[in-house]
Subunit: 321 residues, 2 copies
């Protein structure tokens, strides 16, 4: 079975690990979000791609969900001693190697998709990981700074990591998305997929950004195979992260049903909500999206695998319908 | 007193620390060798400038004489895991920060001299450290590889660090030197100096490379102030390093007297040899260079300070003559 998964960072990566356990023979292609990529210290950093790669490759810091295991932060300490920032982005010594290798390959002319493949040669994540685009797309967020009242457009990472989404996101803009093209292999993987899954990743800045690359949304809608998603909102709050903050920016309420409607029945065939949101199933189905309520807390690998099985089961229901 | 010192790496840096102790009020300008600079992993590495900066700034690994104290090598381990080399050059996690800051500033358009000044803002070495040139000069070495018999021109660091000078250097070429210009401040410092010193640095690939930048040798010869050097060769062998290997390439025998003659009386006014080489004083003086035999083993800071005092004393003798 060929499965295509659109993935952001931590939530996507943990779901993928569950999917691998649930479906050992599946041929999985991951289309990774690159909208939260950032240039730091002259290096190209791809947080979501790396989180998927490290998580599936066994190098992730399990507790925090991002970054490397057995990590040290000496380089970052020294940069701070030189007065060189930003200090709010946590790059560890081991993690730096990935960004150095990536930057060197990009400078040598390789596209990000080829670089990602080369990095995965080491990590062997067991999936094919493709960035959504080889073109630069960077999510920016419009905010009003609380102290000065100044309206400012800042990089998503500055909003998410430095400000910890503590002020409302007034607008979320994937800069460069309109001019971007899907990376080689993206449209082909979608066209050849048997199932397409949206993990419980952020619907705006992760999956939404991937869908903003011209051609990807259309390819998914036209693939003619079940498209099933899992709600990142459980009981009116994000399972993790601060998805509610950016949902507000696009005028979507923080409920499992509203996210499904945001994707829409033109794209989404099936939607899993958590059992605490069972009462919302009817609303989602009224929007033309088949819906089931199942436990959606990814507390461990087995829980993630059960969620993946439920998603595949719902996909089969959709297919049989 | 304004002192200008031409310096390579470890020997130059340790001598400078002695000079600071010997002459606390002196205004010291160091013209640093950049001929062994190398681009590694997309980063600009300046081993000699950094050794001077770390040594005088209190950040050096005292035992090995280069690199940072309290160092870890996680980034390098990870690069090796990615199969990205070279593995033979020992860059530590803390040290990497210097190269990242430097590379970022160079990419932003700052010349190396301005970058070096900015890095020294942190380290406060107590001297003014200027690279010999803002232009790229890279020492290359012609060798015959022992296995294949292939004649090859390799970067000096590959010769020195990877091959550990285990094959003869057939030629030593400071590539780019002819087209290079002294960095801002170099000629001015020489013109305003009261004394110019050559520490026991490598006469070919350290001091020789600095002198290969058009204008520097002439400025020193024309400065009209005492120019005093210390022999890096003691009893027919280099005090440290493998200076004999590169001396052979330029047709100079590995003796204290031969190195003095190599600099020549047109450049050098005074020369210190070690007490074990006392018998050679007469030969050096016959070449028109005032010479004294004093202990030249820089076993500790006090020994280095004594050597610096001897050099300054000889400079005063030259001045009074």
């Amino acid at each position: 079975m060929r499965i295509v998964v659109l993935a952001g960072g931590i939530g996507g990566a943990r779901f993928l690990r569950g999917l691998q356990q649930a479906s050992r023979d599946a041929d999985i292609t991951v289309i990774g979000n690159t909208g939260d990529d950032i240039h730091l210290f002259g290096l190209k950093v791809c947080p979501d791609l790396d989180t998927v790669m490290y998580t599936l490759g066994g190098g992730i810091n399990e507790e925090q969900g991002w970054g490397r295991t057995d990590e040290t932060f000496h380089l970052k300490e020294e940069l701070a001693a030189y007065g060189v920032g930003p200090e709010w982005f946590g790059l560890g010594d081991r993690d730096f190697a990935t960004h150095i290798v990536r930057t060197q390959m990009l400078s040598a002319g390789f596209p990000l998709s080829a670089v990602t493949e080369a990095l995965c040669d080491r990590w062997k994540p067991g999936v094919r990981l493709i960035p959504m685009s080889d073109d630069r797309v960077e999510t920016h967020v419009a905010v009003t700074l609380p102290d000065s009242g100044e309206r400012k457009v800042i990089h998503f990472q500055e909003y998410w990591v430095r400000l910890r989404a503590s002020v409302p996101a007034e607008a979320v803009v994937p800069v460069g998305a309109e001019q971007s093209k899907p990376a080689p292999g993206v449209l082909e993987a979608i066209a050849e997929a048997d199932v397409i899954l949206f993990p419980p990743s952020n619907p705006v800045v992760s999956i939404g950004t991937i869908l903003a690359v011209p051609g990807i949304r259309e390819a998914i809608a036209d693939a003619g195979v079940p498209v099933v998603g899992l709600s990142p909102i459980v009981g009116d709050a994000p399972v993790r992260g601060m998805a509610d903050k950016v949902l507000a920016a696009v005028g979507v309420e923080s409920t499992a049903a509203a996210v499904a409607e945001h994707y829409g029945s033109g794209l989404l065939d099936g939607w899993l909500v958590d059992t605490v949101d069972a009462s919302t199933v009817e609303r989602v189905e009224a929007a033309g999206i088949r819906c089931r309520a199942v436990p959606l807390m990814m507390s461990d690998l087995d829980a993630a695998a059960r969620m993946a099985r439920e998603a595949l089961t719902l996909a089969e229901e959709v297919r049989g319908a």
